[in-house]
């Protein structure tokens, strides 16, 4: 089946079997390997992408269902080549990333939170990432990263809901 996908503000026409998940399509057909296959049944959150700005599990969508949405992957988060967004920067600073497997999804989940809530409480941050499993960090530095990014973004008048 052919389907037209709007990914990171580019249109892609792909020809996929109906049974191909959006995750597999992103990774295998479009070489956007930032979304990771963790459990492939909707529990771990490593496959998170943004669909119309909301965090969604790409392993639970079929590619052929994904037309007509604005899809954002981690590859779109950096503002430019060699640059990092405030959120990505904060993850580096607080050591919120170790092996990196959960990280793109954590960043996108945080991005979705901060685009709606520029001053989340710690409970709200924890809730926003509660669907994402991390085996390395113990989560504390991830929560710190998100809080730090939120604080910085409030101070800098950055539009949280870009791109």
């Amino acid at each position: 089946m052919k389907v037209e996908l709007d990914i990171n503000r580019e249109k892609h026409e792909v020809d996929v079997e109906p049974r191909m998940s959006l995750l597999d399509c992103l990774r295998d057909k479009l070489l956007l390997t930032g979304a990771h296959a963790g459990c492939e049944h909707g529990v771990c959150g490593a496959c998170t992408v943004l669909v119309d700005g909301a965090a969604v599990r790409s392993c639970l969508m079929f590619a052929v269902q994904a037309d007509g949405y604005v899809i954002t992957t981690i590859e779109r988060i950096a503002p430019g080549p060699g640059e990092l967004s405030p959120l990505q920067d904060a993850f580096c600073e607080t050591h919120g990333m170790q092996c990196g497997y959960c990280t793109p999804a954590m960043i996108l989940a945080a991005h979705a939170l901060l685009s709606k809530n520029t001053a989340p409480t710690r409970e709200e941050i924890v809730d926003a990432i509660s669907g994402n499993i991390c085996r390395c960090t113990g989560y504390a530095q991830i929560v710190e990263a998100i809080a730090l990014a939120a604080e910085r973004m409030r101070g800098q008048n950055i539009m949280a809901n870009e791109p």
Partner: protein, 272 residues
């Protein structure tokens, strides 16, 4: 389409069906995606009931002002339904037809006595929630039918409060036991109406009519509530699995139901 191919299944949010497919526990030959068919997603205030269309996304219900005002118990449980990412896609209808006894939306449907409507061969069939859920993940929905609408009753009393608790390993994971309570109080703090439900402990959620009757005319009294719950749950056949024994579920059901009822009384008492 469903009648023509008995391997076909409806998909909407896919948040339950696709994991089942990934685990090869569901192997449909064909999927019929109804998620974006216009006219199947809605929240309609029909006075005595709020009608929610089958493909209404859970995140939409979570944020809806009418639901918050008129279905406080449903509004209360929505943050507990899965995770933010699953509520972005998952639907109210999907939760209901998958029939998981741990599902919060199903517990509210049973506790409040919702009416569930499906469409089969051009005609609509409505049943009470208590008749729809038959066993673990088993519902009365025929294979050729498509779920259409859930109608939740609205309480007209002014001082209505709600309470909800669930126990699980990780926040928002499947509950081992859950308890929901909706209470209406008169001006003196006595209960005029109650609805109490227990989820996840048994094959289908339980509505505790006896406990609701015991509460009528009473102010909140923990010992009396606990006694009433213990009696009501004494004979139930609780489920046992790797997460929790039947004995644990029975014991914890009483405790969290006490908490839910206490919260509902307090919540109602705060209203003028």
């Amino acid at each position: 389409m469903l009648a023509a191919d008995d391997g076909a299944r409806v998909i909407a949010g896919g948040q339950t069906l696709v994991p089942l497919m990934a685990m090869r526990r569901a192997r449909p030959s064909r999927l019929i995606d109804i998620a974006r068919i216009p006219g199947l997603a809605y929240i309609r205030d029909q006075g005595k009931e709020i009608a929610i269309g089958a493909t209404t996304r859970q995140c939409v219900v979570e944020r809806d002002a009418v639901v918050r005002a008129k279905l406080p118990l449903l509004a209360k449980v929505m943050p507990f339904v899965g995770h933010t990412a699953t509520r972005a896609r998952g639907t109210v209808g999907g939760s209901i037809v998958n029939g998981d006894a741990a599902a919060e939306i199903i517990l509210v449907a049973v506790t409040l006595g919702a009416t569930l409507v499906w469409r089969d061969g051009g005609s609509d069939n409505a049943v009470a929630a208590s008749d729809f859920f038959l066993g673990p993940m088993v519902t009365a929905l025929p294979l050729t039918a498509c779920f259409a609408e859930a109608r939740f009753p609205v309480w007209s009393e002014t001082r209505v409060g709600v309470g909800f608790h669930e126990i699980n390993a990780r926040q928002s994971d499947f509950a081992f036991v859950s308890a929901a309570a909706q209470i209406a109080l008169d001006g003196e703090g006595r209960c005029t109406r109650a609805a109490i439900g227990i989820g996840a402990a048994t094959a289908v959620p339980l509505r505790l009519h006896a406990v609701a009757d015991d509460l009528k005319g009473q102010r909140y009294d923990e010992a009396a509530v606990r006694k009433s719950l213990t009696a009501a749950l004494d004979g139930i056949e609780a489920m046992a699995d790797l997460h929790a024994s039947a004995a644990y579920r029975k014991r914890v059901a009483v405790t969290i139901a006490v908490r839910a009822i206490a919260d509902a009384f307090a919540d109602a008492a705060r209203r003028p």
